[in-house]
Symmetry: C2
Subunit: 251 residues, 2 copies
């Protein structure tokens, strides 16, 4: 079971990229689990026909901690097992608390034993790397970390920050920083800017994903591009990313 | 002394807007203090001729807590008193910890008594509203809160989140949510989208600031637009924002 964390600045395209990755790998017969670790809790929406599934935090609250696996894990497109950690009420408590709680609950309910995933993706907010948001790196929960970025200054700043966090506090032998995924925003000199940050942080650009309106068109149908437009050039881009990820993590 | 917090998603233009506001008000003879509450620690750069001042956290570390006011508070353009809270090493501890530490240190060193500001601006990261980032709202440190947003989905999502935090956890009588500042990104239907979020969160759009390359030109000289191009249309926009802010906070 390979555990892969996908980090990046909010809005950069983590969930879009991760859910298309999950869909592409599931379509090849791999058992995939995708765990949303962003309080926005919509990581898996386009694997669930546009449905926002209940979060682990919400279920614990509403069911007074009488939570079963079927309350928090849902099978979506291609059999991808979808989970959303959720977040606390804005302003109170650590925003990353949902992630800590979700990880505990999934272990307690033996989710990995039941579903036997080949790959687990954690889709993690990367604007700050602390509290629960640092767990996939610090807790030894991830074997590999990829960072999604564009050529925009704020996205690159966040990427550098996350790279430092991995370097400083990845537990020995865990959380290998495996590369940047460029989710293009078509800014000036983008490829070179992203390439430079890759070099400076001692890694590579794993794949350049173009900006494409098929993403929005698929989204409007509550789907990934891989599901809605499987024969498109854009679906090929995500499949090529899937190949690269498998190669990098040794699957 | 009016204490005003400026929140918003990372990269939305909080520091650009706040430093131009500070410059505009200082140019009218008001005593202004600007406290950067973003681990990026560059809020006051363009009031300090492009210089990134030492942060409170860094000074405490490097000087073994033997910190004087002159080590952390610096007078910039127009006499604006500049402070940067700083942030911890990425991945370790709460990212908002610098803010908590900075507030304590400024009180301990009696900064407000020494400088007697008419207005204090806190420029605060708003991607998560927890830990130290919630302090200006929860700790009763801010009289008024403005949120900087554009018409982009992620900026509006963050704005809504921050508005909820104020509503849930502003201490009684403190932290009045005073409105949205639209920092335009020229997306489709922008004015209407921002207007809608204003309505839904029970407030108004205080000012629409256009996107303008004079911002970059001033930045490249290490200045605000108000300092570099005082007679420009863009400087007038920031002055008009200053008028509106004074009116809204009752100064
Ligand atoms: N390659 C792409 N081309 C076009 N639009 C994209 C692409 N990737 C992401 N987007 C758009 O950007 C928005 C934000 O992406 P999302 O995956 O939700 O970001 P994150 O999960 O990092 O917050 C999505 O609504 C999506 O429509
Ligand atoms: N009105 C504007 N017009 C053009 N560029 C802007 C404007 N406001 C901000 N910017 C640009 O956006 C970038 C990010 O702004 P910044 O103030 O640093 O964001 P934040 O403090 O919210 O992280 C700045 O480098 C600046 O050049
Ligand atoms: S550790 Fe990070 S996520 Fe948790 S309270 Fe602090 S800033 Fe918020
Ligand atoms: Mg997401
Ligand atoms: Mg800033």
């Amino acid at each position: 079971m390979k555990k892969i964390a996908i980090y990046g600045k909010g809005g950069i395209g983590k969930s879009t990229t991760t859910s298309n990755l999950s869909a592409a790998l599931a379509a090849r017969g791999l058992r995939v689990m995708q765990i949303g670790c962003d309080p926005k809790a919509d990581s898996t929406k386009n694997l669930m026909q546009g449905r926002v599934i209940p979060t682990v935090l919400d279920q614990i609250r509403q069911r007074d901690n009488q939570v079963e696996l079927d309350h928090i894990a849902f099978e979506g497109f291609g059999g991808v097992v979808c989970v959303e950690a959720g977040g606390p009420t804005p302003g109170i408590g650590c925003a990353g608390r949902g992630i800590i709680t979700a990880f505990q609950k999934l272990e307690e309910l033996e989710a990995y034993e039941r579903y036997q995933p080949d790959i687990v993706f954690y889709d993690v907010l990367g604007d700050v790397v602390c509290g629960g948001f640092a767990m996939p790196i610090r807790g030894g929960y991830a074997d590999n970390v990829f960072i999604v970025t564009s050529g925009e200054m704020m996205a690159l700043y966040a990427a550098t920050n996350i790279a430092h966090a991995i370097e400083n506090f990845g537990k020995r032998g865990y959380a290998k920083y495996s590369g940047l995924i460029q989710n293009s925003r078509n800014v000036e000199n983008e490829d070179a800017l992203v390439q430079q940050v890759a070099r400076e942080s001692g890694t590579e650009v794993v794949k350049i994903i173009p900006r494409h309106k098929l993403v929005q068109q698929a989204e409007n149908q509550g789907m990934t591009v891989v599901e809605a437009f499987p024969d498109s050039e854009m679906a090929r881009e995500y499949n090529s990313l899937a190949d690269k990820v498998l190669e990098v993590v040794g699957l």
